[in-house]
Symmetry: C2
Subunit: 457 residues, 2 copies
């Protein structure tokens, strides 16, 4: 696929906004460690000299979003003034510049705030590229030649597991049947599971009500948050199992609440409810710990799922090598954009681990659908035991929201990465000056922001 012509593609502006939704008011998104999240994001718009735009975001949980915003502003120097076509021509080189500046890399390296900020910018560039090509991102990825796709990835630190040559060979070998898979996707979409039934902040009545609702919507896989009290978990998970019956599937998610030994003991008590996975049983950094848990739970047919807070491809490399990750839950806005996520997909494929993306946060469903569709057409070529998380929140704020019918993600058709906000969303939810936030402050529903949050008026 030829690269876009350079003319008009000089990036002349990068704007970033702090956008927050007051989700803590309803307990939506609450789990063992994140008891009151306000689902938020740092939202990037890049503009070329001829006015072409790219939109990208990184998900956050409220407080501290201003820090990611400032970091993105500090990274403007690596982007503004460059020609987007030249970035795409050496995307891996650009990736290393933005993630490994000789002074700023001390702040990570390649993790935490710095990587979240880089993700938002990289996401906006992929969105721009797909808009230039007039394709959704998943179609752009499918249409890139294996060599072109692989050229966007920085392989530093992962060549002991996969090299660029090997990645190209794998992608070429999987080409057979891609037209059929492409058509299948356009007709049938991709399977989803729901996390909407079991947030920790929800009452038992609400959990049961939501189970019925999502059963009627055609869902077959249901995820419940656990980890604060065994008794509560047993009661809630039993209620869900009773509702959904034995022919449907249950997953549980502890959001890092436990130590290694505690995770094993706790899960033995829930094992009779037949969850297919335990998600984030302990620290997202503990590769060895996950391997120990995984081994201990194997006799119960419970797999270990993790990845939404996995810091970068090097951490994924180890999880995938360790036997401690049966389900690889890539996040679309924590590691370094699509470039680094492609590396994770390739390693997962080689090491035979299923990818089931994390989603649910602001814009995450919108993004991961593109990645998983590409994986189906071009890499794993199967949907077996693979699902995309689905949470019915904040979709109404996007120009091109994800569409889930009969528990399946329908393939996006509009150009880009599906991450452009509606103008009225920005007017209302930009923090702290959006109209909705002003109302919430005025009515005393939220306190006025701390001085620290006001650095980006």
């Amino acid at each position: 696929m030829p690269l876009p012509d350079k003319s008009g593609l000089k990036i002349v502006h990068l704007d970033v906004r702090d956008v927050r939704f007051p989700t803590s008011l309803g307990g939506h998104g609450s789990d063992a460690l994140h008891t009151d999240p306000n689902y938020s994001c740092a939202y990037v718009t890049i503009i070329t000299e001829t006015g072409k735009k790219g939109f990208g975001l990184t998900f956050t949980c409220g407080r501290g979003t201003e820090i990611v915003v400032l970091t993105i502003r500090a990274m403007k120097r690596f982007v503004v003034g460059l020609n987007a076509a030249e970035i795409f021509a050496d995307f891996a080189g650009f990736w290393r510049t933005i993630t490994n500046d000789s002074q700023m890399r001390w702040l990570g390296p390649e993790k935490g705030v710095a990587h979240l900020a880089a993700a938002a910018i990289l996401n906006s560039l992929w969105d721009l590229w797909a808009r230039i090509e007039n394709k959704p991102v998943w179609k752009l990825l499918v249409d890139l030649e294996p060599e072109e796709l692989v050229s966007t990835i920085d392989f530093r630190y992962i060549t002991d597991v996969i090299t660029p040559d090997e990645a190209v060979r794998i992608l070429k070998a999987q080409r057979k049947g891609r037209e059929e898979r492409f058509k299948y996707l356009e007709q049938h979409g991709y399977p989803a599971y729901t996390t909407q039934v079991g947030w920790l902040g929800y009452s038992d009545e609400l959990v049961t009500e939501l189970c019925h609702k999502y059963l009627q919507l055609g869902f077959t896989h249901f995820k419940v948050k656990v980890g604060l009290s065994v008794e509560d978990d047993l009661r809630r998970a039993t209620a869900v199992r009773k509702c959904i019956g034995d022919d449907k599937f249950l997953m549980v998610d502890a959001n890092q609440a436990w130590s290694v030994n505690e995770a094993i003991e706790w899960m033995k008590k829930l094992a009779h409810l037949k969850p297919i996975w335990i998600e984030e049983p302990t620290s997202p950094d503990d590769v060895f710990g996950h391997a120990v848990i995984s081994k201990a739970l194997e006799p119960y047919d419970i797999g270990v799922a993790t990845g939404e807070m996995c810091a970068n491809r090097v951490m994924f490399k180890q999880f995938l090598q360790s036997g401690g990750m049966q389900y690889c839950q890539i996040d679309s806005a924590r590691i370094g954009g699509i470039n680094e996520i492609l590396a994770v997909y390739l390693m997962a494929h080689k090491l035979n681990v299923k990818v089931c993306p994390h989603a649910g946060g602001v814009g995450l469903c919108e993004m991961v659908q593109h990645l998983q569709l590409w994986d189906y057409v071009s890499l794993s070529c199967t949907m077996a035991d693979r699902l995309i998380e689905y949470v019915d929140q904040q979709h109404e704020h996007f120009v091109d929201p994800c569409v889930v019918h009969n528990a399946r993600y329908m393939a996006p058709k509009l150009p880009g990465y599906s991450t452009e906000f509606l103008p009225e969303t920005l007017e209302k939810y930009t923090y702290p000056h959006g109209t909705e936030w002003r109302r919430l402050f005025k009515e005393g529903i939220f306190p006025l922001p701390d001085e620290a949050e006001l650095v980006n008026p």
Copy 2:
């Protein structure tokens, strides 16, 4: 040891400054991945209602320091208004609050910018505590009862390696002979090694000149930066070995330049120069990779050293378990303050790995000396094969700079953590409004700061 009386210890103010030194002008601190660092820090001052002060800092490399500053400002809400005595009474609880806020933890968790910021605040609290007790921090640590010291540590995610009870038992078992060790330290200090001889940005002449200088100063251990070109590395390391002779010790430091296989091949080419360790051969996140390198280099008697960019106690736990870390190089301002560093020392002791602290950056020598002195008196009780890094930079800016005589750190005597800057340093080097920075901008030696860096005027 009784806790301080609460009266007067309410924290009423937390001030944070961006302090930068223009070290890139001389190539000081330059290595394979950090080619032009401006050694910098985010500098915290906490003040109690009666005017008692605590000073704490976290090291940075220049660009992006403003992000850490903003993060510290965002964390003020967890500190200001609390009573310091109450913090010390439940230091582990406070630690979890500041590192695991339900909304902000998404920005880490426990890594990167968020953890650097927490480190600066936690360092200032330990400094305050020691000043209240009128002792240097190392003496405060030595004087705390084992139960008191252990109570400052959050053991979440590490109980599979060490529990609080076990930590207390270990500390009690090591009490014998502490008075003698204490006296020995006061007389003889603690051995240091020098990194000053081999920054990558230095010319060969300067390297040789510095070798002679540090030999005359009594140093026996010399560290050289490597990783950009085998030929250069061979030439420089050979020159150093020739200068220092076969009876002295050489270490090499690649600052994460290599992939796993590359590290092994490269080090085989340097092996005849008999380096005792290779430091940071690859990604600081690659536990498995370090283990592979370590095993491959064992026949050459080359150990693997790493830790200055190790993100938190969970990552240290795995490195210490993996056999991939023969020298544990804790950093005093990257992980969550003394609280978390104590956890690493305890795990290293249990798993029989030597701690040789990373230092050299702004204030790092000043801080780590306290930790290592405590370790000698109270935990490992030995100096065998242990050294503290020493770099002769920026000490003149501190009220109580570290003192190295005859290649040994002399035990600090003044109260606190040795991290208070002189007033004239703040006047000159506060970025971007300090007098020295204004001169550097005016004379065109540095460009005027980007808009992004001006959020904290």
